[in-house]
C-alpha cells in the first residue's frame, strides 16, 4: 500500500515504478505498455463545448458503439446507451434548442456506487466510476440511483460479429453496464473513442484530460471558460463539464 501511495504522490505512472523495481535499467524501455496502473494523482474529466456540437452529428455515438461493441436492439426502452444525445429546449424559447451528449458523469460522489449491494460498482483510484461486470448481479439499484440515466441493463443475449472489436469483451444478459471513459484505451495512453471521433469527424466539441495536471489542455480551459455540470444541485460533483450551456 505505501509504495502505491508514494508513487501516486510522486505522480509516477505504475509502469515506470514497477519497471525500476523489477530490473533496474533493463526493463525501463520495455516497461511502458507491458504494465499499467491507475494512478490516484489523476483526475480524468471531460469538457464538452455545446456550441460546437451540432444536432445532426452522431460521430461520438457511432464511435462508442463500435469501440465497445455496444449493440442496438431497436427497442427504445431496452436499448443500451453509453452515450446519447438529449435535446434541451428552453421553456420560454428565448434560447435556441441545443443537443447535449449525455454520458456517465463519473461523479465524485456516485450514488450508483453507494447503493450497489455487491461492490460491482466502484470508483477506480483515478476517479473513473466503473461496473465490474464480473460481480454485477443485475439488480438495477444503480440504474434507479443514477440521476443521469447513464446505465443500461442488458436485456438480450448478444453475439460477436466479424466487425466486433476483439479487444473488448461483449456482454452477458442480466448485467448492468455504462460508459467507462474507455478505460482500456486510457490505460494504453489513448483518448476515449468518442473524443477521438469528435475531434476527427465531428465538430471538435469534446476535450478530455487530467484536471490534476495544471498544464493539460482541459485544466487550462476549465480555468478560463465558464463551464457547468448538469444537475450540479445534487452535489455529486460530476466530471463531465459543459461549456456554453
Amino acid at each position: 500500500m505505501t509504495t502505491l501511495d508514494r508513487r501516486a504522490v510522486l505522480g509516477l505512472g505504475g509502469t515506470l515504478a514497477a519497471g525500476v523495481l523489477l530490473a533496474p535499467g533493463v526493463s525501463l524501455l520495455a516497461a511502458p505498455g507491458e504494465r499499467t496502473e491507475a494512478s490516484a494523482s489523476r483526475r480524468w474529466a471531460m469538457l464538452i463545448d455545446i456550441n460546437r456540437c451540432t444536432p445532426d452529428c452522431s460521430a461520438c455515438l457511432t464511435a462508442c458503439r463500435k469501440e465497445n461493441n455496444v449493440p442496438l436492439f431497436g427497442e427504445p426502452d431496452r436499448d443500451i446507451h453509453w452515450i446519447r444525445k438529449v435535446e434541451l429546449r428552453d421553456k420560454d424559447q428565448r434560447r435556441p434548442t441545443v443537443s447535449l451528449p449525455v454520458l456517465c458523469n463519473h461523479c465524485e460522489h456516485p450514488p450508483c456506487v453507494h447503493v450497489c449491494p455487491t461492490g460491482a460498482s466502484f470508483v477506480r483510484k483515478d476517479g473513473i466510476v466503473l461496473v465490474d461486470e464480473h460481480r454485477c448481479i443485475g439488480c438495477r439499484y444503480c440504474m434507479i440511483a443514477c440521476p443521469y440515466k447513464a446505465r443500461s441493463l442488458v436485456y438480450h443475449e448478444t453475439r460477436r460479429s466479424p466487425e466486433s472489436n476483439p479487444n473488448v469483451p461483449i456482454r452477458s444478459k442480466g448485467v448492468v453496464e455504462k460508459c467507462t471513459f474507455c478505460v482500456h484505451r486510457l490505460d494504453n495512453g489513448l483518448q476515449p473513442a468518442c473524443v477521438e471521433a469528435c475531434n476527427s469527424v465531428g465538430g471538435g466539441a469534446m476535450l478530455f484530460g487530467d484536471l490534476n495536471d495544471p498544464h493539460s489542455e482541459i485544466a487550462k480551459r476549465v480555468r478560463t471558460v465558464t463551464s457547468q455540470t448538469i444537475r450540479a444541485d445534487l452535489g455529486l460533483k460530476p466530471r463531465v463539464h459543459y461549456q456554453g450551456l
Partner: protein, 136 residues
C-alpha cells in the same frame, strides 16, 4: 500477561491429542498417505498431473515455447491466476499484457483443443467466453 505454569498447562493439552494420534497410527502399516493410483491405464495425455494421469484427450500445446508460468503450476492455479489478474486489471487498472486472458490465445490458439478439452473432463464451464473473445 501469561504466567509460565499456565502456558505449560495449555501446550501440554494441545500436544496430548497428537500423542494419542501417533499411538493409534503406528500399528497400521498403510496410512492415508498412499492412496492407490487411479486411472493408471497407461493412457498418456502428454501431461500427467502429480497424482495420476488425466484421461482427457491430448491437449494442444505449442512446441518450443513456455507458458507464462511453469506449466505444472498453471495446471493447478490458472483459474486463480486469471481471476486475480482480472480483479487487478478491472479494479486497479493493473494490466500486465502477458498475463491477460487475451494473451493465452497467442499460444493456446484453440479453445476447443485446449481449455475446453480439459474443462469438459473435469466438468467445469467457465462463463468467461460469453463476453471475452477467444478463438474457437
Amino acid at each position: 500477561m501469561v504466567s509460565y505454569p499456565s502456558l505449560f498447562h495449555r501446550s501440554f493439552f494441545r500436544v496430548l491429542p497428537l500423542l494419542m494420534g501417533l499411538v493409534l497410527a503406528i500399528p497400521q502399516p498403510a496410512s492415508a498417505g498412499d492412496v492407490p493410483q487411479q486411472g493408471g491405464s497407461g493412457r498418456s495425455s502428454g501431461h500427467p498431473a502429480h497424482n495420476g494421469p488425466a484421461d482427457h484427450p491430448p491437449l494442444e500445446v505449442p512446441e518450443g515455447r513456455e507458458c507464462v508460468q511453469p506449466a505444472e503450476w498453471m495446471r493447478r492455479n490458472h483459474m486463480d491466476f486469471l481471476k486475480h489478474n482480472r480483479d487487478m486489471a478491472v479494479r486497479e487498472g493493473v494490466r500486465v499484457k502477458d498475463d491477460s486472458l487475451k494473451n493465452c490465445s497467442t499460444c493456446h490458439k484453440s479453445r476447443e483443443k485446449f481449455c475446453d478439452r480439459c474443462h469438459a473432463y473435469v466438468a467445469v464451464a467457465p462463463n468467461c467466453f460469453e463476453c471475452h473473445d477467444y478463438p474457437k
